[in-house]
Amino acid sequence: MSALQTFMLVVDHDKQEARQIAERIAQDIESKKTNLVEVVQSLGEYINDDDPLLRGKAVSYLTAVIKALPPRFLTRQQVQVLTTFFCDRIEDAGAVAGVETLQKHDRFTKDMAEEVARALFENFNTLQSRAQSQRFQVYQLLNELMSNHRAVLHEMGDTSLVGTVDLMTGEKDPRNLMLVFSILKVIMVEWDISNHVELLFDSVYNYFPITFRPPPNDPYGITAQDLKDRLQDCISSSSSFAPHSIPALLDKLDSTSQNVKKDALNALIACINSYSPDTVSKYSITIWETIKFEILNAQEEFLSNLSLTALHDIAKRLSEGVTQISDQLPLAQYLRPITKECNEQLREPQQKQAKPAQEILKATSKASAASFSLIVQVVVAPLLTLYQGADGITKQRALLETLTQLFESAITVFGEWTSRTPVLSAENPLLEFKDQFSEIFGQALMGTVKEEVSFRISALKGFLRLSTLRDYFHDSEIGLFVQYLNEILLKEESVGRDELKKEAIAALAEISKHQPRLIMDITFPAFVATLPDSDDGVDTSYMKTLEILAQISVEKAIFDTLVRRLLNKLSLLLQRDQPGSAAYPRAILLTIYYVMSQRKLEEDPGLEMYYDKIVVTMSRSAALTASGKAKNSILSDPTVLDILGRLCNIVVRSLPRSRQDEVAKNVYTLFASADEFQPVLFSQSATENQQRTMILSTYLLAGLPTDSTLPHSMSDLLPDIVSRSISKTEPATQLAILRHTALLVNKFLPKSELSMATALFDSLLPTSAAESQISAETIKTLFWLSKSLILRLAPATTKILTSLLSLLSSPDETTSTIAARGFAILLKDDDVLSPTNGANIRLLSKQRVFTTLIPLISANIREINTTSNNDAARAAPPKEHIKPAHLTALSGILSTISPTLVMPELPTLLPLLLQSLDLQTEDSQAVRAATLQTLAVIIRESGVTVIEECGHVQSLVTRLLKTAEHNKKQAAVVNGPRLRVDALRCLFLLAQAPTDAGDAPAVAKAGKLSPLLPVRNQVLRSLRFVLDDPKRDVRKAAVDARGAWLRGVDEAPEDED
């Protein structure tokens, strides 16, 4: 059997082997064992067969052989002969592939290209009816010719144009269309299409709108959007299409489908942006007349927004090259009907239609300076007249807002003071109205009764826009505005929710970005002047002032001045004999802390000064205060020390390494000399005042890098600090010491010395059941030690967790209860032991704690439940506190863990959560609150289905309803208002479909009844009574929950459609 015959036999089922056969023949040709002529001749008997399949296979054979030949092997003549051969046989399968191979050859000439193209165009009928993949080959060939021999096709002119259109007519496959659209676009852009505009346009517009939806798992990854984009490129490619495209697209806006309208508007926008300005001008008014309805009677916001974009883009195109404004401009002609319509709508600016009119004006006026001027010329004056004659504040307010929209356009066109765009040479047409605006807005802001808050806010916003508009207001005019704002903030009483003051602060902050000088000169001194020297305990208005100063100090210059001034104030305060309450210095520190935490301190040139003035000086002052050597006791107040510590912490973190090393040496001495202050550490007789400096030491320590050299060895430090943490001190001091311990163990203790920490931990545990009672301080220390070890996933993690859990079963109730609460400490994010402070927190630590503890707690509770059932008669000592303790511990863990970790454990967890809801006592409120939080998250994330899967819908709903109940007769509060609200919130979420599962309702609709249906009536009935709760918040939650159950839980879901 000849190679050809073998090839034809296998080609259908074994492509691999077919290719190998062809490669062998190709090698034979190369090594001159045979030649091309022989190969062609061997086709002889099949090539004229009546069966097209056989002919196709024969041609494919030749193609395969040629493909296998090295690229430069064929001579020009051979290429020529083969091309002609393939072109003659173009109808046979394989020929197209053959030509495609040949056209890649260097020796493929222009004439050959033309020959191929003609062959394609002449045989379009046959080629059209081929299978998709073969049509794809045809288009690919054409595409290759387009890119390699475009000139040839171009010279063919109308032939290639009509030929291509004929060839693609009726094409439906998305992959092929992608190619076709890009080929056609080349023709549309580069050919002379004047004779065939309509033919070409129709060839692509037939496909509009594209309704293609890719099949699931589409291997080609073509989306409807890809097709839409290419089609849109075609439609917008040539201005000559305008007479066809624009009316057709505008017609499509009558469609009832939002998507079709969206595609039409997008295509329209593309046309506007690529057709010539003359063409756009010709159709501009037609477009406006049609699409204004989309804006004035907006159905969907996105359609209205697209229409606005279209209007804007027309104005922009028509402004191209406009230097001189005149009425004869196409732009002016386009804008005339628009401004006329808007002026009409704005005559009653408080009505519904005024808003779209404002938007139209804004969209068109921001297109260019020319457009802005033309609109301002005809719009502003009538608005001002209307304003003068307005009979109500609502109308005036609407007018102010309309003007503000124009100001925003002005900012888009002319920029803000800080804009980096080049300054336009065109004059801002608003300059003419400057004085009027200043007066109107000033009058509205300051001359209106104080109760008209929203009106004054509108005025304020407009004034602010004008103040930030580049080269508009003079400094003195902005200064006037700033003074108004000062007056509002300093002199006016609060009205309502203080919205105006909030806006005023925001406005000052905004202006400080543009004109920091004005804020420095006008606002800053006025506000600083109101700060007292000390707090007399009566007037605490300084707090408001400091809040405002903190918020307007965004700019560097203002920030610097503020920090300096406040530090001065503070050091004066520290010198006073009677400094008043500690609230004032604390507020000052808080302000500094706030502004510093808003900035990048690392790059601040003032860092050295902060180090000196804040870290060194203040720490030393605190040390002196603790030793009783200071003028006053401000720095012995724990809250002042806390803020000071935080402040030092952020400064220390940003310091260069050498300074940080200096801090490391002074963590405990606090930069004081030995005779000024005796460090707390290793001192047997430290007073409460001295102990309190540990707050500061802890924050300093937290800010240091992990590899700092501490002034003492770990083996000295740890035992001392732990012995302090288990003895009784003030709460703030104790928390600092606990954190200190945790920092040392978590951040600074080397891995090799971890046993030191675990040994300390073990030594604190109760030694035997008899001595089961341990102090609250010891328990806290145990938990903080555990926290620091667990977060770094120390080897002893599991053992530690088991030891902690055993505390819950302590026969001593206090120990058990306190330990139960301690579980909330373990995974709680802490400010000091935090990632920003370089704490060693491993990613899997939370998961580890959760998966270790949950099975243990669950097993313990099961055991308690069964023993209490079986042995009720037996006289075992009652240990009723143990079960609540376990549930408390559980809620503590749950409140600090992400819900994603909780989900997989739900079947184990849910019974526990339900049991904790059963704790109907006053002290259990916090536990139940935590449980409800967890439940709310579970329900929100995965809806009712997960609960149904565990079979707990009924029991959950019953318990929630019980928790939502308010019992007037009971003396003790079992269900506090918050708890009732939380329970109702869970009920609300139950009836609400889960947010993320988009296809869940579809599943429910498929005949499956809601699992909530059996309890629907029970819930609705019970909630009716909750509607009469004495607390408003509870009633509100009950209304929402009831509404959700009425709406969401349908008796018969089929009715919905």
Binding site: N297, E348, Q350, Q351, K352, Q353, K355, T394, R397, V453, S454, G496, R497, M543, E547, A550, Q551, A583, R586, A587, L590, T591, Y593, Y594, T639, D642, R646, P731, L735, A776, K780, I818, G822, I825, K828, D829, D830, D831, G892, E922, D923, Q925, A926, A929, V973, G976, P977, R1024, L1027, D1028, P1030, K1031, R1035, V1039, D1040, R1042, G1043, L1046, R1047, D1055
Partner: protein
């Protein structure tokens, strides 16, 4: 709404101008530092300092125990909040913003003034249609009624009427809204309930 709009260009009140309840801000958080702003801008100040063990029992119940004693009876503002967020069937705008319902037109009175110990109360809501011949007034009235009946405890009677002089066929509409049988019949009507459900969708 397939038919032409009855009033395509009504006046709209700004949401900021609608009556709202001024609540005393929750002061428990800011109390330590005396500043709400800093407490909210630097949340770690108030959060991190909490010690779960010692603050455990005090913090949640502290603020509540004194609050628990104070009853907050249902008042006109609360009724207003319930119905002002209902959407108009014609526009995607709330009844509050269209001034169809307004605070002064809501009244709560004892249902049986002669029996002082009775807890029964009557809520009267007067509706102001945007134009005097609005045929949707009945639907709006029905929507308000449905919303209140769903959201008020059983001891409340609901009375919805068109405000005098604001509608050409006010008497007719009032009769419909007051007629229990007709209201019940209307609520059986699927299309009508669909419209009302859509109006109530925005109630939060």
């Amino acid at each position: 709404m397939a038919s032409e709009m009855q009033n395509s260009n009504p006046t709209i009140l700004n949401t900021a101008d609608l009556p709202t309840r001024l609540r005393p801000s929750v002061s428990s958080k800011s109390s330590t530092y005396g500043s709400e702003f800093f407490a909210s801008a630097l949340p770690s100040l108030t959060d991190g300092a909490l010690d779960p063990i010692s603050d455990y029992s005090e913090s949640p119940s502290d603020s509540e125990s004194d609050g628990e004693l104070m009853e907050e009876p249902i008042d006109e503002q609360e009724i207003y909040d319930l119905i002002s967020t209902i959407n108009d069937p014609e526009h995607p705008i709330s009844l509050g913003a269209l001034a169809v319902v307004s605070l002064p037109d809501i009244a709560i009175k004892p249902a049986l003034p002669d029996v002082p110990e009775s807890l029964l109360q009557t809520v009267t809501v007067l509706i102001t249609p945007t134009i005097t011949h609005c045929s949707l007034a009945t639907v709006i009235g029905l929507g308000v009624r449905v919303r209140l009946e769903q959201s008020l405890p059983p001891r409340f009677r609901v009375d919805v009427q068109i405000k005098e002089g604001t509608h050409s066929t006010a008497d007719e509409v009032n009769k419909q809204l007051a007629d229990k049988e007709r209201v019940a019949a209307a609520l059986e009507n699927g299309t009508l309930m669909g419209v009302i459900a859509k109006m109530l969708e925005t109630c939060q």
